[in-house]
Subunit: 455 residues, 2 copies
Amino acid sequence: MNALIERLRDGLPEDAVLTDPDVTGSYAHDMASFCPAGTPAVVVLPRTVEQVRHVMRTATALRVPVVPQGARTGLSGGANAVDGCIVLSLVRMDRVLEVDPVDRIAVVEPGVVNADLSRAVAEAGLCYPPDPSSWEQCTIGGNIGTASGGLCCVKYGVTAEYVLGLDVVLADGRLMSTGRRTAKGVAGYDLTRLFVGSEGTLGVVVGATLALRPRPPRQLALAAEFPSVAAAGDAVCRIMAAGHTPALLELMDRTTLRAVNELTRMGLPESTEALLLAAFDTPDPAADLAAVGDLCSAAGASEVVPAEDEAESAMLLQARRSALVALEAIRGTMLIDDVCVPRSRLADMLQGVEAIAEKNDLTIGVCAHAGDGNTHPVVCFDGRDPQEARRAQSSFEEIMALGLELGGTITGEHGVGVLKKEWMARELGPVAMEVQRGIKQVLDPLGLLNPGKLF
Amino acid sequence: MNALIERLRDGLPEDAVLTDPDVTGSYAHDMASFCPAGTPAVVVLPRTVEQVRHVMRTATALRVPVVPQGARTGLSGGANAVDGCIVLSLVRMDRVLEVDPVDRIAVVEPGVVNADLSRAVAEAGLCYPPDPSSWEQCTIGGNIGTASGGLCCVKYGVTAEYVLGLDVVLADGRLMSTGRRTAKGVAGYDLTRLFVGSEGTLGVVVGATLALRPRPPRQLALAAEFPSVAAAGDAVCRIMAAGHTPALLELMDRTTLRAVNELTRMGLPESTEALLLAAFDTPDPAADLAAVGDLCSAAGASEVVPAEDEAESAMLLQARRSALVALEAIRGTMLIDDVCVPRSRLADMLQGVEAIAEKNDLTIGVCAHAGDGNTHPVVCFDGRDPQEARRAQSSFEEIMALGLELGGTITGEHGVGVLKKEWMARELGPVAMEVQRGIKQVLDPLGLLNPGKLF
């Protein structure tokens, strides 16, 4: 190992190579529960593209695996270390290099925090829409690696739709540019998109050109209470079929509402089975909310409460954003699923999850990006109880099986990582898996980049 | 060759295998000028996925190249035959299988004509935005192959953004599904995007799941006249920097205006150097047009004329849509370029093209999707005059060189085909080209799919 450290130090500043096991151990895993993580040999924190190239050249020369990392807020173990690896943390490459209001692009390094970018572009009257729940911590590089979503996707789409071009250091240290800084471009295969969502298995993203949008007007929200998750799912269908485009359309079930109240004392309605939050950032949001409120009532909502003002709207969103932390508190441990179904099947999905919870005698809280059909069933359990943990694991898998049965995907936005790799093969089938492996082989013939993830 | 025909007939109906050279010859090329095209051995017109699989199995067994084709409206020779090939025309697979207003998707066969799909989804209150100029002829399969754009891209994006999932027959006849019918999904590498824009070189698209949008309100347009192309380019920058999102923002230069008048007797202003067309489909398009009109005036517009009504708006767009045909009439032959630059460099691009025309003593008319920075300089020449043809070819290449110099791409939406393959290598550089070739090798190890295109 000393040869590795020595060689890494040849091209990196002193403070960019961490070897103290107490320190490197803290880089071993992301925020996923129950995902195996190995012990890194070393953690490197480069500040320049040239330093990243040095790391990859070294790794290739010595055949050492490399695990690229952002803020480690991932939920699938995609950033977990493997034994003896180099953890390549990009968090120090955190500059916004350019914001251009005419071309509506930002050029950034991978370690920029999502919310920092949002604030930087807001100053130029622009907006970078993708907003994962972890936006105050997560990095753009991590967002690109997992093709992150967020609350705004129902109107504004996911990370992939905002990545125009990338600078990527390949496994052998060569630098490749993909894509463009123009609005359009079709020269050759879309390598940019190939890297988005590749979870660090194809190369190391060291720069990105991102598309921006004009800042939308402030949004106004409403909350609608439903006597069943099925009725809430029906409301979502009616809203979308009527041609509305809310800026967000979120759902929390009763378990989630209670957990959020427990955590925040927000006083959300606990007797309702499902709460739907809709928001509009259109020129006349109040009119759109009124129309959506009527559709909720027609679907059986017992109560429709438009927010009084922006502050109240923001509070409702805050409740939704605190759902995961709140649910974790219920039994101390949780498994967060991320199944996305066609939104026409949302009600079936929600009812199916209720049945799975009952069958396995467990609490499963559901929050969902309902407008996208992207559900996050959270299986709550006591991790110290092996039997309960087994039932939790089984529920987690039954939820994915149900999602596939309903024409959905095992992961809408969290990625595959180590958590769902067996399930990825089930979803994609043998022919697509062979092609996926072939592409991996082209870009990482020695299998050094984030091994054990995806495949 | 008889063995090939016989074997193809084993799995195809009688009328799906064309061998008469007079007939097959008419399938030899698309609409690009000056692109080499070979002589097909046979043209097949399957109606089912199984029939396509039979064709590909046969091609692989006998090592015969296959050229997939849609309506052959392409402008880069991407659908041109090679000697002895099977032309695989998908035009008979032309069914819209499903339109779902809740999931906002359409499931289609590849031979569906773009405008037919638009009409079919309009009946369900929905919209499929991508609208290439050839939309009344071109097929969705062809649009996917070339990642087509159109007039609406400045607001609604390109074909790639509307393809959620694909069914693809691989070179060896295996069937692979990619992507999803959900709003989101990140399981594995994005193979869907890899096929979009791959120009038939990686597999044969036999089905597509497309994203739809709610139908926008009808649009209202204005025309603004400028004393120079630079002033028009400046207006585009001001419009975008001010945060407007027009539904289209198109430019025609004086040469184009005169040619359109010549063809259509529309009475467009001929003394102006550049005409900018802007349209909005917002809730209050008149207000947006007024604001944009002011910005045009500030940039030096001599005249700003809002359309009186929808009919007049439609007529302005009709003028824009007839630009290419009109320009072709000037000298009988044309080379259509497709250089896209950052919109902040649009004025530089337009002035540079003027200089190239002058230097080469040629007429070059420019129409452009100005809001995207996507210019179509059309080099007009007399194809019977070898010297003029040489100067035209040289201008065509100087235009691409200028585009790259300005940070642009050689092709915004028409694709590489055979027309621009040397230039693709120049744009992408050796590392990206090696990766592109590696991916081709994974999916088409025998090199049978549309050989000679892209590479």
